[in-house]
Amino acid sequence: MITLFDFLALSGALFAIGLAGVFLNRKNVILLLMCVELLLLAANFNFIAFARFLNDISGQVFVFFILTVAAAEASIGLAIVVVLFRNRSSINVDDIDSLKH
């Protein structure tokens, strides 16, 4: 029998991997966005598992909203990446430090 805790452990592992990706990757903004998608997927896993094991469909409604916001986030983020590449011809994270100087 699959328990709730198996799903929570899986989502925890996904979240940790996504967070490690954010720290590992200092070179590519697109990979950073992909890691954010992994973090959101881990959160969605929690919502769906709790919705199933608490017999409450509201958790799935929240996943619906998270998917909406994540789609908007991905489109705006990629648009920002395109504008960044157009202006700096680089998507290196270390190059984005104009505000520091």
């Binding site: 697109i30 919705a51 509201s58």
Partner: protein
């Protein structure tokens, strides 16, 4: 029993391809690994009886968002070799942070003092439709947040278009409102009054 096997296979696939996302050498490979993560997650969501959301995950994420990612990755010509230089340098920090977060989450999860009691999930009735139940909840209880989600998507569209729209000087393009506002009486057509000329005399052959 068979559910457990499916769960283990899909969970291993999800975690393995998620690891592939953060360690892949090329950005295209990372995007394809992310597609695999989403597909395996959709299978796990089916296991959790979230059929509608599993299909939405495949349609929206794999079909739209990841295609957008791949499109951008292929459009931006980045040097993939130099993108991986910092991997070894930052690897210890990333692994340590990931292990700390995983240990914290595992501590909370396996301590089993989440403040709620979990029974086994109720078996669903024969004619139960997940889509119908979800729709009934969204359009009644969560009708207002649903409208806000629509506005968020609209803002996303407008922002993405405004960010990437580029008006280059010197490029000829249509000005549609000017074309529509054109009128014959205001300068478009000029009627000139001129005297008629006499007909030239006909010649007899």
């Amino acid at each position: 029993m068979i559910q457990q096997i499916v769960f283990i296979v899909l969970a291993a696939l999800t975690v393995g391809s998620a690891l592939g996302v953060i360690t892949a050498r090329h950005t295209v490979h990372a995007a394809l690994f992310l597609v695999m993560t989403f597909v395996a997650s959709a299978g796990l969501w089916l296991l959790l009886h979230a059929e509608f959301l599993a299909l939405v995950l495949v349609l929206v994420y794999v079909g739209a968002v990841m295609v957008l990612f791949l499109f951008i990755v292929m459009m931006l010509d980045t040097d993939s070799q130099s993108l991986r230089q910092g991997l070894v340098r930052y690897a210890p920090l990333g692994v340590v942070v990931a292990l700390i977060v995983f240990a914290e989450i595992g501590y909370v999860v396996y301590n089993r003092e989440l403040g709620v009691s979990f029974g086994t999930p109720l078996p669903q009735a024969a004619g139960f439709s997940n889509t119908r139940a979800l729709g009934e909840t969204i359009y009644t209880v969560y009708a207002f947040p649903f409208e806000i989600a629509a506005v968020v998507l609209l803002v996303g569209i407008v922002a993405a278009i405004m960010l990437t729209l580029r008006r280059r000087p010197g490029v000829r393009h249509q000005n549609i409102s000017k074309q529509v506002r054109v009128s014959a009486k205001r300068g478009r057509l000029r009627i000139v009054n001129m005297p008629s000329e006499p007909r030239p005399p006909e010649k007899n052959p």
